[in-house]
């Protein structure tokens, strides 16, 4: 229940305030600069404005000496220009205001044309959808469709909570963050699969138990593994968060949250959904694991109450 509330809050934030997309998706120029001493943000902003970019976004990037400036190229209505002069103009103005390269240096600059941005955005969405479909197909081959569907729903839950997390944290959505979301998908599926694998095994072995009990036991049996794997994965993410610098930080945040929500969903959400699917579409008697299925189905119907997520 809490996750549903979290998703609702997060997604409403997403709707009310549009997520910050990096220029990889919107098109434009981003310049990362480093000063020799902490500058006044207002002065940096005014330098960007005086260079002809009053709408430029100036943000601190990690240490007080590092800043990024993001701006949209102007006079795009006048036809496509072959090269982007935004960086050159802003850089010149910065040098005029703050001194030569010993005082302010451009470390990194990126320009993305608007058409490319659209393409990257559609590619990102495509990547998420396709990875979804591909893993779904794999799961349906390896397990039966009920498991596949339950795993997909649990993963969907992870994507939604992660998106909510991104919007609440006001993280900038860049290609790296999309990569993080995809990794979270893989990670969470991984986790769900391990529990389901145990369920599958236990269903073969323990024919008398209801699915609910099997599920419960399987989750308990895999719990030490879950805790330990998450501890190590989280440790690695933590190391990234602390040491890897500002460029990787959004990625690390999304991963850290993803590990958390991935565990949660495989332990609580996936199982609950599997039970719900079983209740709705009981196993057919014609499967080759006939005795087990009958027992499972019988046990199921006697326990119509489904454990809810988060209880």
């Amino acid at each position: 229940m809490t996750t549903i509330a979290f998703i609702v809050v997060g997604l409403s934030v997403l709707v009310v305030k549009h997520p910050r997309f990096s220029i990889e998706f919107t098109g434009g120029t981003t310049i990362q600069i480093q000063f020799d001493k902490a500058p006044d943000v207002a002065a940096v902003r005014s330098a960007a404005a005086d260079a002809g970019y009053p709408e430029a976004v100036v943000t601190r990037f990690g240490s007080p000496l590092d800043y990024t400036i993001s701006a949209q190229p102007h006079s795009s209505a006048n036809g496509p220009s072959r090269i982007d002069s935004t960086r050159v103009q802003i850089e010149a103005m910065l040098h005029r205001r703050f001194g030569d390269t010993t005082h302010v240096r451009v470390l990194d600059s990126q320009f993305v044309g608007s058409t490319v941005g659209d393409e990257l955005a559609s590619n990102a969405i495509k990547a998420i959808l396709i990875s979804f479909i591909v893993t779904l197909i794999y799961l349906w081959i390896r397990f039966e469709w009920r498991f596949g569907l339950a795993a997909t729903c649990a993963t969907m839950h992870d994507i939604l909570t992660t998106l909510a997390f991104i919007s609440i944290m006001r993280l900038e959505v860049s290609l790296t963050v999309v990569a993080a979301i995809l990794t979270v998908i893989g990670y969470s599926l991984n986790d769900t699969i391990i529990i389901f694998d145990r369920v599958r095994e236990n269903l073969k072995k323990q024919r008398k138990e209801s699915l609910r009990d099997v599920l419960n036991r399987s989750i308990n049996e895999t719990l030490p593994r879950s805790i330990l794997t998450h501890a190590t994965a989280f440790a690695a993410t933590l190391a990234l968060l602390i040491f890897a610098g500002a460029i990787i930080r959004p990625f690390a945040w999304v991963m850290a949250f993803g590990i958390f929500t991935g565990t949660f969903s495989s332990v609580y959400v996936a199982g609950a959904i599997l039970l719900w699917i079983e209740a709705k579409w009981p196993r057919q008697l014609s499967t080759d694991r006939r005795p087990a299925s009958r027992q499972g189905a019988a046990g199921k119907s006697s326990a119509p109450r489904v454990r809810e997520a988060g209880d």
Binding site: A51, G52, Y53, H74, N78, P80, S81, R82, I83, S85, V88, Q89, A92, H95, L107, D108, S109, Q110, F111, V112, G113, V116, E119, A127, V134, T135, Y138, L175, T176, V178, A179, L182, T183, Y187, L189, N190, D191, I193, I194, D197, R198, E221, P224, R225, L228, T229, A231, T232, A233, A235, A236, T237, L238, A239, L240, F243, A244, G245, I248, A252
Partner: protein
């Protein structure tokens, strides 16, 4: 059992070796011709450099998909030649995008976007255009004046967005100056290339000041007041310092709309002096070229006693026939030779139909000018103009900084994982840590072996995978523990543990590999690096946890025969 153990041991000794050999081999090869270094290729974001994505500029012409593919293919070759000429090693030029309509250029070690962009963009985009004789410009002059006035109002209302900002910013640096000059020129589809005389830059700089002044208070008949009738039809003289202003006007959307349809206006490359004032000629021409540089098969410089320096060019047979038909139709017309948006010399009269060979007369210019021109025409005639759609410049210090931070994060991650594993599994944890050390080695070796590029997100993926790599071990250990709890001996427990954990390990890792593969397919640049390290990491972790750790166990079992307890 012993045989199995022996087999596994040999597999264990085989696996690391087959993985390790390419590392050593590659390192050895590298040592022979370059300095010793880690055989891992660093991505641009880690070593500094430029990443450019170029796309055909279709604002001037449209191409059928077939022609487009061919044009991009040829453009790649041209761009590669030019990048190679920069003398930087490990550059890469390749097509990208869903329809391979983009060219991705990676140049390590170059941080000057102006320089690289100039080199990559140096067009040598050659067009043969028929000069307009019907006074099309005169007939629409009043409309053009209105258009400028209209646009002028916009200029006055929002000067920061409409005036090319280049004109208001600093001009201290020659490079920047050139760049602003280019900006003014881009409107006409070309740019003041390096071919332009040095003096022109100075005049441009001066012009910019006056241009800025003019744009803010537009005068009546702004357009018509700039131009004077030239010495031939379709030729117009514009005071040299007003040239950039006219180009700016021509770039305005309103002016473009008011311009005679099917016509275009290009500035001449050379200035002329009339009555003590320097003028730049502008030419009104048919917008559609009768021929472009794509048709060129050869070009060579020559000197001719009557014409001075010339560049002789040869066309392919098919294009030569087309050219003969076209020029046959236009006998008596003037033909402008436009290179990178600048008209070269005064357009000559077409005396007769020209076939597969012709020449560009450069007059009294030095032979070296002809040589340069011939070179760019030969090696660099781009079949289609290109523009930069994506550019990334990374300073070298940032790259080194990222590596340092990444390594520090990796060490911390490794340390934390080691503490957790040994703290929880004791002896078995140590075996897992041994496996983990091999895992790091294998992953690095795999990356080196496949010549993968290590990027910053890739480095992050690597650090992350350290945390996830032990997962398979954890699964197996948990299984072994369970078996031990059921009262089985260590040996059977270990065996059973490995067998039972296998389906779960395979399923979960295959799903992750599938996700990573999708990421590789749809990602670009750094993100691809992430996908590659992720896949390499998963494969390496499978190898270490299944073969290596198992072998460790078997070795331990053989050494301590009949052990009744297992520290796990």
């Amino acid at each position: 059992m012993l045989i199995v153990a022996m087999c596994l041991v040999s597999i264990y000794f085989l696996v690391p070796r087959t993985v390790k050999i390419p590392t050593r081999g590659k390192d050895g090869v590298l040592r022979t011709d370059t300095v010793r270094r880690i055989p891992l290729r660093k991505g641009l974001d880690l070593q500094g450099g430029m990443y450019l994505e170029l796309a055909p500029d279709l604002s001037k012409q449209t191409l059928t998909p077939d022609k487009m593919t061919d044009a991009v293919k040829r453009a790649v070759e041209t761009v590669r030649n030019r990048v190679d000429a920069m003398g930087v090693s490990e550059t890469s030029v390749q097509t990208a995008g869903a329809t391979s309509d983009k060219i991705v250029v990676q140049i390590p070690g170059i941080q000057d976007p102006a320089r690289a962009a100039k080199l990559v963009e140096e067009q040598a985009f050659l067009q043969f255009l028929i000069v307009d004789k019907a006074q099309a410009l005169e007939r629409s002059l009043s409309r053009l004046d209105d258009a400028v006035k209209q646009a002028g109002a916009v200029v006055a209302a929002a000067p920061t967005t409409e005036t090319p900002a280049a004109q208001t910013t600093g001009l201290e640096n020659l490079l920047r100056q050139q760049d602003t000059g280019k900006k003014a020129d881009t409107g006409k589809g070309g740019k003041g290339g390096s071919k332009a005389a040095g003096g022109r830059k100075d005049s441009l700089a001066k012009a910019k000041d006056s241009a800025a002044a003019d744009t803010t208070k537009p005068t009546n008949g702004a357009f018509s007041s700039l131009i004077n009738q030239g010495s031939m039809p379709g030729e117009y003289f514009v005071a040299n310092d007003k040239g950039p202003l006219l180009l700016h006007y021509l770039d305005l959307a309103q002016v473009k709309a008011a311009f005679p349809p099917g016509k275009a206006m290009y500035p001449g490359r050379d200035t002329i002096q009339r009555g003590g004032i320097w003028y730049r000629p502008f030419y009104v021409v048919d917008a559609n070229p009768i021929l472009t540089g794509a048709a060129l098969t050869d070009a060579k410089p020559n000197t001719n006693p009557t014409k001075g320096t010339v560049v002789e060019f040869t066309l392919s047979n098919a294009d030569g026939r087309r050219f003969r038909v076209q020029t046959g139709k236009h006998v008596g017309d003037y033909m402008a030779i436009v290179l990178d948006g600048l008209v070269i010399g005064q357009p000559p009269v077409i005396q007769e139909a020209i076939g597969t060979s012709g020449e560009i007369t450069l007059g009294g210019r030095d032979i070296s000018v002809a040589q340069d021109l011939a070179l760019v025409l030969r090696a660099g005639a781009l079949p289609v103009p290109l523009r930069i759609v994506n550019e990334r410049t990374i300073g070298p210090s940032l790259g080194q900084d990222s590596i340092d931070k990444g390594v520090r994060a990796g060490i911390l991650a490794l340390g934390l994982v080691v503490v957790i594993m040994i703290g929880y599994y004791r002896f078995s944890g140590m075996l897992a840590v041994g496996g983990l050390a091999l895992y790091v080695l294998f992953t690095a070796a795999t990356l080196a072996g496949f010549d993968a590029v290590l990027t910053l997100p890739g480095l992050a993926g690597f650090v992350l995978s350290i945390g996830i790599a032990v997962d398979a071990n954890v699964l197996i250990f948990e299984r072994i523990r369970e078996e031990m709890d059921r009262g089985k001996t260590p040996r059977t427990s270990i065996d059973e543990g490995f067998t039972h954990a296998m389906p779960a390990i395979i399923d979960s890792n295959v799903s992750t590999i599938l996700t990573a593969a999708v990421l590789y397919q749809y990602g670009t640049g750094p993100v691809r690096g992430f996908a590659v390290t992720l896949i390499a990491g998963i494969v390496a972790s499978l190898v270490t946890s299944i073969f290596v750790v198992r072998t460790f166990y078997l070795l331990w079992l053989n050494r301590t025969r009949g052990a009744q307890t297992l520290s796990i």
